[in-house]
Structures are given as structure tokens and as C-alpha cells.
């Protein structure tokens, strides 16, 4: 298997490349991004490139890539907004899929990491979204709109390329030891926001389950769209109780407007689409991916507990993880210098 990972410079891209390196089936791992990898990698080849079509097309052919793992979709609108978000999500995906679907392309599998943000969050929603359900109201936030556009590109690609296995995983509110999301930031603060009078049903996915599910999709043949979320739901008040944080209430009317000064003051960083989740919650049906053979390690409540424990440890010892900086020359030396003796060769 020759894998191309997009967004190697993001947390997920680096983390996934690490996980793929452990798989013997992945002979070649190539990572593309404009930023350097965030984590130390053994044998992943990093290509500093933007997501323009011509480069991807050349890359896919030159390296005979048969599997594309598309992690470079921005689902956290606090990371990127406006034009850059559109370029990354919509144009990036369009170019990638065009390269993957070009005549004579060796690509046989595409795995896309998306988000349950595509379902939105309104009071008219079903309590558990299945993969085939449409969102009730048209998206209002830019990130949701762009994910919707990405979804239609992926659908078209799957239709036009029946010989390619296309898997799209929609992840729900991820928490974990390392990942930084708006919800994890909110829960790390001394006082956690809520919307007055609302106590929504929340669902969480553990970081490890995200990595495992993407690796599962890379290894197995699971075409189609799948929700990925821990079993069960729990109310936001309980989430705050598990992490032992007091709550402060945002106004139930004109919430987004009143949240603006708080955001500006740096006291809140939940974007509007997540304030809706904090109001109405969102549940998704995770049974389809289970039927496809995936086994979750964490339930929603288990994810929150694991997060609380990680936070407690961090509270005592601080962030103990060594800071990694990518050095091109060093990495090139380890990968390509004849002086380096690889373990496989020793045996």
C-alpha cells in the first residue's frame, strides 16, 4: 500500500502518519502540507507543497499512490476562516479528487476525514442522525457550508470512479490527551460556558478512536459514509461535572451576539456553529460503522473521563511532551543517507 496523507502539518496528519508507520502494509507513506510535520516521523516522506492540482497530480503518478488519506479538512473554524478556509476545504479537496480521478491514476482508495457538523444542530433535528439523513436547516456558518460542498465533491467522485473505494468518516466532538478543539479548550478553562436553560445531549469521540477508525478505513474495504462517535450521550452539565468545572451561563437569546465581546476578550472560543451544539446538542447513530466491523474503545462518557484524567495529569506535571521541530536535513539524513543502517537490513 502506498499512502498519501494530506495535511501532514496538522495534528491529525502527523498523528495518522505515525499510526500508519506502524502498519507493515503501508510500504510508502507520503505526506503533503505547506507546514512541517508536528510529530517525529520515522519513514514518512514529507513533501512541502500546496494543494494545487498540478503538484498533486504529479505526486500521485510519480509515487504510484494507491491510497489517499485526506485529513486536511478544517472542521474547527477557530483555526482558519474566510478565504483560507474555503481554499483549504473546498479547493483543496477538489484538486485532490481531480488528481485521484485523472485518467490512468493509480489511486484505488480515498479516505476522507469529515465532521458531524454537516448535520447542523436545530430543535427540529432527530435525536440520532443516520448517515442518510439530511440536515434540517441550510448551513449558516462558513465551515459547515464548505463541508457540505466537500461532501458533494466526494459523492460525485465516488459515482464517477466506481473502481475506487471511497470512505468518508464523520467525527463527532473529539476529545483526547493531545488534540486541541474548541470544546477541549472550553473544558480546560476554569469556568465552562453553557447556554442558560439548555442542557444538551452531547456525544464525544476519543482521539484514539479517531486514529484507529481512519486506520481501519485504510486497511479494510468500507465504502460509504460513516458516523464515528462514542456510544451513548450525556448532558453537558454531566460533562462539566466529570471534569469538575463550574459553569457560567450565556444568554439564551441573541447568544451569538452576546458571545462576541466574550470572544474578543478571549474568554470564549466557541464559534457560532458550536454554540448551536451547546444549545440543542447533536446525536448521531454510530451503528453503521460498528456493523462494518469497527470496534470502539471509548464510549462518550469514557472519552470525557479519559480527558478529565489527562487534564489532571497535565495539571500536576504540565505539558511533558517534548516539543518537536522538523529539521529537513536531519530527516533527509535518516531516511536517505547510505550511512544509516536500517533495522530491517540488520536482520
Amino acid at each position: 500500500m502506498r499512502v498519501l496523507v494530506t495535511g501532514l502539518g496538522t495534528f491529525w496528519g502527523s498523528k495518522l502518519a505515525q499510526a500508519l508507520e506502524a502498519l507493515d502494509a503501508a510500504e510508502v507513506i507520503i505526506g503533503v502540507d505547506t507546514h512541517e510535520p508536528r510529530l517525529p516521523l520515522e519513514r514518512t516522506e514529507f513533501v512541502r507543497a500546496d494543494s494545487s492540482f498540478s503538484i498533486l497530480n504529479r505526486l500521485v503518478r510519480a509515487a504510484q499512490v494507491d491510497t489517499i488519506l485526506h485529513t486536511h479538512l478544517i472542521v474547527d473554524s477557530t483555526q482558519m476562516r474566510g478565504r483560507a478556509l474555503h481554499e483549504t476545504n473546498v479547493i483543496g479537496t477538489m484538486n485532490l479528487l481531480a488528481a485521484a480521478g485523472a485518467a490512468g491514476s493509480p489511486v484505488r482508495k480515498v479516505v476522507v476525514k469529515s465532521s458531524t457538523l454537516v448535520y447542523g444542530s436545530t430543535y427540529q433535528d432527530p435525536y440520532f442522525f443516520r448517515e442518510d439523513m439530511k440536515r434540517v436547516r441550510s448551513p449558516r456558518s462558513q465551515v459547515e457550508r464548505s463541508l457540505g460542498e466537500v461532501a458533494s465533491y466526494v459523492r460525485d467522485f465516488a459515482e464517477d470512479n466506481p473502481h475506487v473505494v471511497v470512505t468518508k468518516l464523520r467525527f463527532t466532538n473529539v476529545l483526547g490527551d493531545d488534540i486541541d478543539t474548541p470544546f477541549s479548550r472550553a473544558l480546560r478553562r476554569p469556568v465552562v460556558p453553557e447556554i442558560f436553560g439548555f442542557d444538551p445531549r452531547m456525544q464525544f469521540t476519543h482521539e484514539d478512536d479517531v486514529i484507529r477508525s481512519l486506520c481501519y478505513a485504510v486497511q479494510e474495504e468500507v465504502p460509504g459514509v460513516y458516523n464515528v462517535a462514542g456510544d451513548g450521550t450525556l448532558p453537558w452539565s454531566e460533562v462539566c461535572a466529570i471534569v469538575r468545572k463550574p459553569r457560567f451561563a450565556l444568554a439564551p437569546v441573541m447568544t451569538n451576539l452576546t458571545a462576541r465581546p466574550l470572544r474578543a476578550a478571549g474568554l470564549l472560543d466557541l464559534p457560532s456553529e458550536l454554540l448551536e451544539v451547546l444549545r440543542y446538542g447533536r446525536g448521531v447513530d454510530n451503528s453503521r460503522f460498528k456493523r462494518a466491523g469497527f470496534k470502539y474503545r471509548f464510549t462518550s462518557a469514557g472519552t470525557v473521563h479519559a480527558f478529565a484524567q489527562a487534564m489532571r495529569l497535565e495539571h500536576v506535571i504540565g505539558n511533558a511532551r517534548p516539543v518537536y521541530r522538523y529539521e529537513r536535513d536531519v530527516e533527509d539524513f535518516f531516511r536517505h543517507s547510505p550511512a544509516v543502517v536500517h533495522e530491517a537490513e540488520v536482520e
Binding site: 430543535y123 450525556l234 454531566e238 456493523r291 473521563h305 484524567q309
Partner: protein, 339 residues
């Protein structure tokens, strides 16, 4: 997975115990299943306490016909701090609500049931009833009565507008209210084997004037029949007498309703007699409820679509039966206040 005491969860068909405390006020002891010494690296390899048990994944996977999941303990029961279930219902909140409501149920409405044995003790069933009174008292009476008498939780399906209301929406959900979405109903009945209560008349029931009392409105488009068919559960009709007189609707303002974006703005006899208090206080009409025999549909479950004419035919038959039952109950009622 460690078996938990199950005190938070109402066992299927078992008697309900009414725990006296809300979960939030329980002393904050760390759940026993969590090993606090677990390092994050151990966590990455999957601690079994937090993990979904392997047998859990095995159930229901790759089954062509999904097997009914009978009141099993959720896999993360030991990790939960509250007893709020996937539908937002909390047995603790319910039992508190029951304690507050019980005097009203026994002394004010003096509720009497007939044919309770028609409600199944196990398995899903769709309960339907006539809906009346400007602010209908029938929903809490039915839910309270069944939970009290049968010890089974009842989920009340209602307009999703409740979800949009702060505080009220949360209390409504904790008390067993669920937004009436076809998929919610299907999951409750088919996957969770629960009792769900729905008023097929919708807001047209409580929104009818006093002079039309006990005349059933149209049963929507028969959606409740299609849901029961799809879920493979029986429909259990319940007829209620007393709700109409508890809060008679004398006049409704169409313009006010439009302005406030609600189905109707009522002027009730209670308001005329009691002033503002009348907006919330029903008259002490005697409540009598009759449960009719369950209606089973002889159709395969889980179909994409059911014949519209068949659905309408069944819905109409049920409606006629309920109307007949209502007339029958009214024929034998001697007094509005004493039954």
C-alpha cells in the same frame, strides 16, 4: 463490564423505586471503576473500564433483522454521573416530578383507570390518546399513571418547539418528553422497546373549543400507524374523560397565535373565574381513563413505505373505536366533578 447497581435505571417491567435524591446532589465520589493511577499511555492501549466491552459490539452487528435490545445496562453505566438517558429523560427527575404531581393526580383529578392490563408489560408499544383542555392535563396524567401503576417509563412525544425553550425544554426532556420525529419514535419503540405516548390529533385537540368537546379531530395523516407498523409494535388507544372540563377553551385568538408563533392563544373558563391563576390551574374534573385493547397490524416491520390507504384505513378504524369509547364513557358519567 462491571454490573452496576442499576438504581438509576428503571428495569423493564420492574416496579419503580423512587429514589429521593437528584443525581446532581449526590456526593462527588469518583466512580469506582476508574483507576486513578492509570497513565495516559496506558489509556492509549485501551483501559477496559472505559472501553466498550467486546460482547457489546458483537450484539446487533451483521444481523439482517436487528434483534431487540432488551433493557441492557449501557456499557458505560459505571462512568456516568447522572441518569439522563439517550433521550434526555432522567428517572430521578421523573420520580421527583411524580412526587410533586401525585397529590394532583390522586386528590385533584382523582384519576381512575380501566383496562390497564391492555398495556404491555414488556416490549415497545405506541400509546395514543385523545388530547384536550387548553393546557392539556392528559399527558402528565397518562405518563404519571402508567409509571405509577406499571413501573414502566413512558416517553411523551410532543412538538419539537419544547426543545427550543430554555429551562422549560430541559425540564420537559428530563421528565420524559421527546421531540415527535418519526425516527425518534421508531428508535424508542423498535430499538429501545419502550412505551411512547403520542396524541394523533396534535394541537388540534387542545385547540378545539369547549362546544366541540369529546369530538375527536382528524388523526393527522395517520403517521402514528405507519410508525407502529415500521417498528412492529401494537398501538394501544387510551380514551380520557375529564380533560375537556379541566380547562375549557372558550375563545382563541388567531391573531395572537400568529404574533406569538404558537398554535393558539387560549381564553379559558379558568382564566375568567380565577384570573391569572386560571392560566395554570385546571378545574378539579374527575378523570377517567380507559385503555382499549392493543391493535396489532398484520404487516412486516421495517418496510420503506406502507400502503397509504391501509394506513389511513387503520387510523380511521382506531379513531372510530376511540370516539365510540368516549361516547360510551360519557353515557355512564353522572357528574363532571364526581364521575
Amino acid at each position: 463490564m462491571t454490573p452496576t447497581s442499576g438504581k438509576f435505571r428503571l428495569a423493564q417491567g420492574g416496579r419503580s423505586r423512587f429514589p429521593s435524591r437528584m443525581p446532581d446532589r449526590a456526593p462527588e465520589a469518583p466512580p469506582t471503576t476508574i483507576d486513578l493511577t492509570t497513565s495516559p499511555d496506558d489509556m492509549a492501549t485501551g483501559p477496559h473500564d472505559m472501553a466498550t466491552g467486546p460482547d457489546d459490539v458483537a450484539t446487533g452487528s451483521r444481523d439482517l433483522v436487528p434483534l431487540p435490545r432488551e433493557a441492557e445496562e449501557p456499557p458505560d453505566a459505571g462512568l456516568r454521573r447522572s441518569d439522563v438517558d439517550a433521550w434526555g429523560r432522567s428517572e430521578h427527575a421523573r420520580s421527583l416530578a411524580r412526587r410533586i404531581y401525585d397529590p394532583l393526580y390522586r386528590r385533584w383529578f382523582r384519576v381512575e383507570w380501566d383496562g390497564l392490563e391492555n398495556i404491555p408489560r414488556t416490549g415497545g408499544a405506541l400509546l395514543i390518546a385523545n388530547h384536550a383542555g387548553a393546557i392539556p392535563a392528559d399527558a402528565p396524567v397518562i405518563m404519571h399513571g402508567i409509571e405509577k401503576e406499571l413501573g414502566r417509563p413512558v416517553y411523551g412525544l410532543a412538538d419539537n418547539l419544547f426543545r427550543a425553550l430554555p429551562v422549560v425544554g430541559t425540564l420537559w426532556a428530563r421528565g420524559g418528553g421527546v421531540a415527535a420525529h418519526p425516527d425518534n419514535a421508531y428508535r424508542l419503540l423498535h430499538d429501545d422497546n419502550q412505551l411512547a405516548l403520542v396524541f394523533p390529533e396534535g394541537t388540534k385537540g387542545p385547540g378545539k373549543l369547549y362546544r366541540d368537546r369529546y369530538r375527536l379531530r382528524r388523526f393527522g395523516r395517520g403517521g402514528f400507524v405507519a410508525i407502529a407498523m415500521r417498528a412492529g409494535v401494537p398501538v394501544v388507544p387510551i380514551t380520557v374523560v375529564g380533560s375537556e372540563e379541566a380547562m375549557p377553551l372558550l375563545y382563541k385568538s388567531a391573531r395572537g397565535a400568529k404574533l406569538l408563533n404558537v398554535p393558539y392563544v387560549p381564553l379559558t373558563a379558568n382564566m375568567l373565574l380565577l384570573g391569572p391563576l386560571g392560566a395554570v390551574l385546571p378545574f378539579p374534573a374527575k378523570f377517567r381513563l380507559r385503555v382499549l385493547p392493543p391493535v396489532h397490524f398484520d404487516v412486516p416491520a421495517d418496510q420503506e413505505r406502507y400502503s397509504r390507504s391501509r394506513v389511513m384505513e387503520e387510523a380511521e378504524k382506531i379513531r372510530e373505536n376511540m370516539q365510540e369509547s368516549l361516547y360510551d364513557m360519557l353515557r355512564t358519567r353522572r357528574s363532571v366533578w364526581f364521575g
